[in-house]
């Protein structure tokens, strides 16, 4: 057997070449890419995903699939959090509890797939919903366990010997265990035989059901370990941990040469797939900004180079989505507004929670307005959809690029704080906007409106419309959305304190989908005929809910909510929607960039009580929070004056 067949039976060497190509290219175009520090940061971000991918490799080699690993992370995370906080277990016991839950979930998959011989795809599609659902049910979507001791967080955020991320040795250990299991052990050989032909394996006296059961059990177990590292990394245990990870993990496995039909695949192939993706993603974020500037100077050269690299990786990674996603993001990066190259201009990097969201698109308009007024370079980049880990990655990137100021709309408070602190240590000014990080991790927080202010405005409007007495229902976004859950908590408090006549009968999710909000409202109107007011607190949910009320002809039901003016104008004019609560998003973006520029120019010190923000005039600063003002109420009289 030649060495190539032995080590790269499925052409994994191609990935090695791609990986080397990627590293060479990005080292050339992205300053600070080729450093040990950057390498270790990258591996840190890959550990949770890597664990899932490694655990999935034997599953897929044996001809199966496990879609439930991401959901299992959520369930294990919640079990860990609940064990530590609600049941007051010691940390090791809480971890044991999470691992136990992981094993139980894996055992359920194993039972259904190995024992009852049901198709793995459908079974794990079912447990995919079941595990996530139980996690949501346990926490009611809202509970977010934080406040873990720093000795535990060290596992996810600390360094061994000052350079090696703590979780890396753990990852290495599990990888080594899997290499032995799959490539050296009797069990691994059996898995390959099963993957090629399950019937044939039976005839070779291999206990097929037991072997298949084992890999699903292990996959549950490893998912729970990934959950524990995830909690230590991000500092919080929520029911939405690991959402979407199953698809990314499968992508890494398949890219690494494992056949989805079973029988072929190696652990190191999976690792190569994982790192080829991680390097490409990190590299693209770093390289994009450089390309933006150089486009001015040597436009064609860079474009050709970028194109060649991307086309090359595309061909190799024919099986890979994630890559395409990254390429899609890369090509869109150039729609940023490059400014003329000048010696040392101020660069302000602003991150929304999600780039495509209309809310943040309207913020961006204000941010660009401020950047033009102040003549600074604006980098506007963020995850394409809500993704806390991606935010951390981007900040790392910006640190490497040495921008002057970073302003982040935080998706995950505890998770991002470590990296923001690191940015501050490196002399970069850090602000947060829209949602805050830990106070010691940023200079200022641009606060558009407090959760309490929003809750009070919404409850006040509800009380006014219902005449102080009556039933209402809430349509929220996703059940685990942090902002919405905070608002709901304040709304409930306000009901107890002041508006005792109002009764909240139920809370339904809309998953930020207009059509789902529509369907949910239709059902609510029938199940709770006495409900006279729908309070929708996710932007697309308000028009969805309003359309349902209108089509039902229920003129006795009012709709209010938190949303954008434009999409609600028809309903506000029809009288279906009475009030839309929101701040001026354009002003929020404007203020975020303005304040960042002032901080960078040392014109805004921590003790300041006020600042002058261009066309917004005097803005109040309270305890390092820059207050945009009270939330606005849009109604028939004023809504046409706003366009966002």
């Amino acid at each position: 057997m030649s060495w190539r067949q032995r080590w790269f039976p499925n052409g994994e060497w191609v990935l090695l070449v791609v990986l080397a190509g990627e590293i060479l290219f990005f080292s050339a175009v992205a300053p600070g890419f080729f450093t040990l520090g950057n390498f270790f940061e990258m591996t840190r971000f890959s550990v949770e995903l890597g664990l899932l991918a490694v655990a999935l490799t034997p599953v897929i080699v044996a001809g199966g699939i496990d879609l439930s690993v991401g959901s299992m992370m959520g369930l294990a995370a919640v079990s860990f959090g609940a064990g530590y906080h609600a049941w007051h277990l010691a940390l090791p016991l809480a971890a044991a509890c999470a691992v136990l839950v992981g094993c139980a979930g894996g055992a359920l998959n194993a039972l259904l797939i190995a024992k009852l011989e049901l198709p793995a795809l459908i079974v794990t599609l079912g447990t995919f919903s079941l595990f996530r659902g139980v996690a949501e049910g346990m926490t009611q979507g809202a509970v977010n366990y934080t406040g873990f001791p720093s000795s535990f967080l060290f596992l996810g955020q600390g360094y061994l010997g000052g350079v090696i991320p703590t979780q890396l040795p753990v990852f290495g250990l599990i990888v080594a265990a899997y290499v032995v299991l799959l490539h050296r052990s009797v069990i691994g050989r059996a898995l390959y035989a099963i993957g090629f032909t399950a019937q044939g394996a039976r005839y070779a006296a291999i206990p097929v059901a037991r072997r298949i059961g084992l890999v699903y059990l292990l996959s549950g177990l490893v998912a729970s370990i990934a959950a524990i590292i995830y909690i230590a990394h991000l500092g919080q245990a929520r029911s939405d941990a690991g959402t979407g990870y199953e698809l990314d993990a499968i992508t890494a496995v398949v890219l690494g040469g494992t056949s989805v039909f079973g029988g072929r695949g190696t652990i190191w192939g999976t690792l190569l797939g994982l790192f080829a993706l991680a390097v490409l993603q990190t590299g693209l974020h770093g390289a994009r900004s450089v390309a933006e500037k150089e486009l001015q100077v040597k436009n064609s050269q860079v474009a050709v180079l970028c194109g060649a690299i991307l086309a090359g990786s595309l061909i190799v990674a024919g099986t890979n989505v994630w890559l395409l996603r990254a390429v899609g993001a890369g090509s869109r990066g150039s729609d940023g507004h490059p400014s003329p190259a000048a010696p040392r201009r101020t660069v302000i990097a602003v991150m929304p929670k999600a780039k495509g969201d209309p809310y943040f698109v309207s913020c961006r308009a204000g941010a660009e307005e401020a950047a033009r007024e102040l003549d600074v370079d604006l980098v506007w980049d963020g995850p394409t959809s809500l993704d806390a880990a991606k935010q951390n990655e981007l900040v790392e990137n910006w640190i490497t690029r040495k921008v002057d100021a970073i302003a982040v709309a935080v998706e995950n408070r505890a998770g991002i704080s470590t990296v923001l602190r690191k940015a501050r240590e490196r002399g970069i000014h850090v602000l947060t906007w829209d949602a805050d990080a830990e106070p010691d991790a940023r200079d200022f927080f641009v606060n558009q409106a407090t959760a309490e202010g929003i809750a009070n405005a919404l409850t006040g409007e509800a009380s006014r419309l219902l005449g102080g007495k009556g039933e209402f229902a809430i349509i929220t976004g996703a059940l685990s959305a942090a902002n919405q859950n905070e608002w709901i908590a304040f709304i409930k408090k306000r009901l107890e304190d002041t508006h005792v006549g109002l009764k909240l009968v139920t809370i339904r999710p809309s998953d930020d989908d207009r059509d789902k909000a529509f369907a949910e409202t239709q059902t609510l109107l029938k199940v709770y005929p006495s409900v006279k007011l729908m309070m929708a607190i996710s932007a697309p949910a308000v028009p969805g809910s309003a359309e349902a009320v209108r089509q039902a002809g229920r003129k006795d039901v009012s709709v209010i909510g938190l949303s954008l003016p434009n999409i609600n104008k028809p309903y506000v004019h029809d009288g279906v929607v009475q009030t839309v609560v929101l701040w001026n998003t354009r002003d929020l973006g404007y203020l975020a960039v303005y304040a960042s520029a002032l901080v960078t120019g040392n014109k805004l010190a921590p003790g300041a009580r006020a600042l002058q923000a261009g066309r917004l005039g005097q803005i109040e600063v309270r305890n390092r929070e820059i207050i945009l003002g009270a939330p606005m109420l849009f109604n028939r009289s004023n809504i046409d004056r706003f366009d966002f």
Binding site: Q5, S185, R189, G200
Partner: protein, 497 residues
Amino acid sequence: MSHTLLSTSSVSKSFEGVCALRGVSFDLKAGEVHALVGENGAGKSTLIKIMTGAEQPDAGTLTVAGRDVPHMTPALARSLGIAAIYQQPSLFPHLTVAENLALALETGTVWRRVHWTARRNRALALLEEAGAAIGPERLASTLSMPEQQMVEIAKTVGAAAKIVIMDEPTSSLMDDEVDRLFNVIGMLRTQGAGIVYISHRLEEVFAVSDRITVLRDGETVATRDTRAIDRSELIQTMVGRALTAVFPKRPVAPGAVAIELRRLSNRALGIHDVSLSVRRGEVLGIAGLVGSGRTELAETLFGLVPADGGEMLLHGEPVRIESPSHAIRLGIGYVPEDRRQHGVVLDMAVASNASLASLDAVSSRGLIDRAAERLLAESYVERLRIKTPSVSTQVGALSGGNQQKVALARWLSIGPEILILDEPTQGVDVGAKAEIHALIQDLAERGIAIIMISSELPEVLGMSDRVAVMRAGTVSGVLSRTEATQDRIIALALERP
């Protein structure tokens, strides 16, 4: 004999640099059966793939009904009246028999309506004509191998094809089914069709063919009239060397009883009240129709589906075999009938295949010792004369006979005391067949009790010390070597009054 229906002249084809055919010329006349023989790997399959358009030749021409066909495709072949029956039936497992026939035979636009009753009736008629009693509403996935092959035969009957290519059509058929096939062949021949007939069973070749073409190493060695050649000459032409005795059976003094069955039953598999015993050093042949419970008996003994009634005694001790791994611990090995599906893992290397049932022997504490595994495999490659470039070659790349030897190696490596061989020489060429027979004899001489299931009566008669005949899930009779004749076995298998 009249005009030429199909001919190839100087056809060559190579796969990844390996020459499969070298300037092969072949012709088929109307109303004749032209047999194509040769050892495995001689190029027979490649030649028929070229005739049916599944492969394109690198050089040479294909002529059908006097016209050159430069680019043959399966669809064109069909429209030119070429039909094929392959060794392995290619049916649609999720569809019914009637539909399988319809898909092969019906023509017309894709928007035409499907007439289920008409389909069913036509299927009934065709199956009748082919001599098969199969319900047209059955799903193809529920058919046994011979039943599937009968459906394939019904297809060619229905296609009213001018040129019918049969590649090992009888490898899974019992004698009476073979007779029915020969009837169909006779009928097609009188209708003026030409038949290309490929088989390893030389008796059949002599019984049915008019001419014989011998291929060896991708070249035409000879084309003769069947009457002008005898068996030994044909074999010599095929293998290029003279073969000695056809069956190397030598009497072995039988030892103690290794395994005894007393009214063993397995309702899940449809076998009942099987009583048998096999001694060490003895070869017990098991004959019977396909579906008579022979393979099911083997699967019960091997623990794939545990028995649910009766007794099994191993060396005098009662046992109940729960699983294949249990069977292995008790020293029972089983070389299954379906080599490609069950006997070996085609995508795995020779070494991994050979060690798959005896991994404990080449591992310590659950970890495989690769060096020990290679040594084990190499020793069997040498002992069984397995022709393979190396032990890390994938088994799928080997010929059928060598694949079967790898399957044997897997079970010899557990050091069995009882070895069950299910159709050990099916689809294996003449040379390898003789080697496997010699090996069986050798194993028996070493004191292993051997149970050999075979549909080939000469093999059963030639190799067995005793022959058990099965019918309808139980043993209908056991014959000693001296008692056993073809007639008596067939009588017991059919229980003709």
